[in-house]
C-alpha cells in the first residue's frame, strides 16, 4: 500500500512552518505508523532531503514519548492506543493523512513534529512524588489499601504523560494529566501527608506554564492512549477546593526538634 502524507515541516521555533506533501514508498500494512515514517525518512534522506523529525522511544505504548496529531486526532484513529501502536492497516491504500505536531503554548515546537513537553516534568517536580526515606523494601502488606482505592489509583497511574490530552483539548488544558498525577498519589495512604500541598503546588505550576482551563469538552478522555477518565479531574477539583480553603499551613511548633 501507499499513502499520501501532508506533514507539518518547520525548521525551528523561529522559522514559520508549512505543510508539505509526500508520497510514501510501497508500505507493508503491518508497519506501525512510526515505521512508516522511518521508511519515508529513508527515502527523503536518499534523495538528499531533510528527514521528518518526530518523537519516539519505547515503541510499545508505555513511555509516552511518541506524539503526533493524525488527521485531527492525537495518537491517530483508535481509542486507547498510542501513535507507536497504530498500524498502517488502519488506513487505506491511497489515503491522504495529515500529520501535525502537538500544539500548545506550553509545548513549544522544537522541529517539525517534535515539541518540548518539559512543562509536564516541571509540574511533576513540584509535587508528583511522596517524600519518604525509602530504605529497605517494606513488607508488601504492611499498609492496607482499600481495594477500590487501589483500583482507582492504578487507573490514574496508567498515565504515561504523553500530552495527548493537552494536544486534543480546545483550550490546551493539562487538567487530565495533572488530575491523574494528583489522584494516583492522593488515593494511596502513602500520599496522604502531602495530599493538599501537592494538589496546590501542581495546579499552580500548571497555571504558570500557560495551559488553558477545563471546559469539560471530553476531548482529553477521548484521545488518551490510557483512557484516563474525566472523573479524576473532578477528584482534583475537590482536593484543590479543600487546599484553597485550608490555605498555607503555618508552622505551629518547631516540629523536627523533638
Amino acid at each position: 500500500m501507499k499513502v499520501f502524507l501532508k506533514v507539518w515541516r518547520q525548521k525551528n521555533r523561529n522559522t514559520p512552518g508549512t505543510f508539505k506533501t509526500y508520497t510514501s514508498p510501497e508500505l507493508n500494512e503491518n508497519m506501525s505508523f512510526l515505521e512508516m515514517l522511518d521508511v519515508v525518512n529513508e527515502d527523503l534522506a536518499n534523495n538528499g532531503e531533510e528527514p521528518i523529525a518526530f518523537d519516539h522511544d519505547c515503541r510499545e505504548g508505555i513511555c509516552g514519548t511518541c506524539s503526533l496529531v493524525i488527521d485531527g486526532k492525537p495518537h491517530g484513529p483508535h481509542r486507547g492506543v498510542a501513535t507507536c501502536q497504530t498500524y498502517m492497516r488502519s488506513f487505506k491504500n491511497g489515503d491522504e493523512i495529515v500529520v501535525e505536531p502537538f500544539r500548545a503554548k506550553a509545548f513549544p515546537l522544537i522541529k517539525d513534529l517534535v515539541c518540548d513537553r518539559k512543562s509536564f516534568d516541571r509540574i511533576q517536580q513540584v509535587g508528583g512524588f511522596i517524600t519518604v526515606r525509602t530504605g529497605a523494601a517494606p513488607d508488601a502488606n504492611s499498609i492496607p489499601v482499600p481495594k477500590e482505592n487501589a483500583d482507582l489509583a492504578m487507573d490514574a497511574a496508567q498515565c504515561i504523560g504523553c500530552g495527548a490530552c493537552v494536544a486534543a483539548c480546545k483550550n490546551a488544558s493539562a487538567m487530565l494529566f495533572v488530575a491523574a498525577k494528583v489522584s494516583h498519589l492522593g488515593l494511596m495512604p502513602q500520599g496522604q501527608p502531602e495530599r493538599y500541598k501537592r494538589v496546590k503546588a501542581m495546579v499552580t505550576q500548571m497555571d504558570e506554564e500557560g495551559f488553558g482551563a477545563c471546559t469539560v469538552t471530553g476531548s482529553c478522555e477521548a484521545v488518551c492512549p490510557k483512557e484516563i477518565s474525566l472523573d479524576f479531574i473532578a477528584r482534583m477539583n475537590r482536593d484543590y477546593a479543600v487546599a484553597l480553603l485550608k490555605g498555607d499551613a503555618k508552622a505551629a511548633t518547631s516540629g523536627g526538634a523533638g
Partner: protein, 260 residues
C-alpha cells in the same frame, strides 16, 4: 494571600466561581419560569404575583443586586478563562473541531453572550418598558385594578408583547441557546465543583439534559402560546384598544383625556 485572591488567581478557582454563579443563575431561571407560567392562568393570577414582587422593594432590590453580582462574576470568570484558553493554543490545527467534543461545549461563550444580549433586551422590554423596542406601544400605560388599586398590567404586557413575530423569534432563539448552554453547563457545574464519579456522571448528565429541556419547553411555551392565540386573545384585543386610546393624540381620542 487572602481566600478571594487565591480563588480568583487560579484557573480552578475561577471554575468554582463560574459553577457557583451558574448554579445561582439556574436557580433564578427556574424560579422566574415558575412565576411566568402563571400567565396560563387568569389575568389576576400573574398580576397579583407581579404586584406582590413590586410591593416588597427591599426584597426585590436585594434579589436584583444579588443577580447582578452573580451575572457579573459569571461573565468575568467566563471571559477571563476564555481569553486564557485562547492564549494556550497560539497556533491552530489544520482543520476539524476538537475531537470528541460536543458543539454545545465548544460554543459556551457564544451562547452565553447571546443570552446576555437577550437578558439586556428582556430587561428593556418588560422591566424598563422602553416603548420603542417592543413593536406595540407604551407598556407603562397598561394598567388594571386589583382590590381597588390601579396596578401595572403585566398580563396585558405579555399577551400584547408576544403578538409581535420578531420579538417571539428573538425570545425563542435565546431560549434555544439557553437550552444549549444549560445542557452542557449544568453537568459541567458538577464536574467543576468536584461532584462526580463513574456512577454519578450518567445521572448528572441525565439531569442536565432533562432540566435544560424542561426549561426550554417551559419558557418557549409562553411566547408561542400567546403568538398562536391560545392564551389571552380576547384580553389582548381589548387592551390593544385601550393602549391605542391612551397613546393617541388627545384631540383624536377624547377617551385618553379621561384616562389621564
Amino acid at each position: 494571600m487572602n481566600l478571594c485572591q487565591r480563588i480568583w488567581n487560579s484557573s480552578l478557582g475561577k471554575k468554582y466561581v463560574m459553577a457557583l454563579t451558574g448554579a445561582a443563575l439556574f436557580a433564578f431561571v427556574v424560579g422566574h419560569l415558575v412565576g411566568n407560567l402563571q400567565v396560563f392562568g387568569p389575568p389576576e393570577l400573574i398580576n397579583t404575583y407581579a404586584h406582590f414582587l413590586k410591593s416588597k422593594p427591599a426584597l426585590l432590590w436585594s434579589a436584583r443586586l444579588g443577580l447582578l453580582v452573580m451575572v457579573t462574576l459569571h461573565i468575568a470568570s467566563a471571559v477571563t478563562l476564555s481569553a486564557m484558553n485562547k492564549a494556550a493554543r497560539p497556533e491552530p490545527y489544520a482543520g476539524k473541531a476538537a475531537y470528541g467534543s460536543t458543539a454545545q461545549s465548544r460554543y459556551m461563550l457564544v451562547s452565553g453572550l447571546v443570552i446576555l444580549a437577550f437578558v439586556l433586551y428582556h430587561l428593556a422590554h418588560f422591566t424598563v418598558m422602553l416603548p420603542g423596542i417592543n413593536g406595540v406601544g407604551d407598556f407603562s400605560k397598561l394598567t388594571t385594578t386589583l382590590e381597588g388599586h390601579a396596578v401595572p398590567d403585566a398580563y396585558a404586557m405579555m399577551v400584547l408583547g408576544f403578538q409581535v413575530w420578531w420579538v417571539v423569534l428573538f425570545y425563542l432563539v435565546a431560549q434555544g441557546l439557553l437550552f444549549a448552554h444549560l445542557g452542557h453547563g449544568l453537568a459541567s457545574m458538577f464536574q467543576s465543583l468536584g461532584f462526580r464519579d463513574h456512577t454519578w456522571w450518567p445521572r448528572i448528565q441525565c439531569f442536565a439534559t432533562l432540566a435544560s429541556i424542561a426549561i426550554f419547553v417551559g419558557y418557549a411555551a409562553i411566547p408561542l402560546g400567546i403568538f398562536t392565540r391560545v392564551v389571552g386573545v380576547d384580553y389582548a384585543e381589548q387592551k390593544k384598544f385601550e393602549l391605542r386610546d391612551a397613546t393617541l393624540m388627545p384631540e383624536k381620542a377624547p377617551a385618553a383625556k379621561e384616562a389621564k
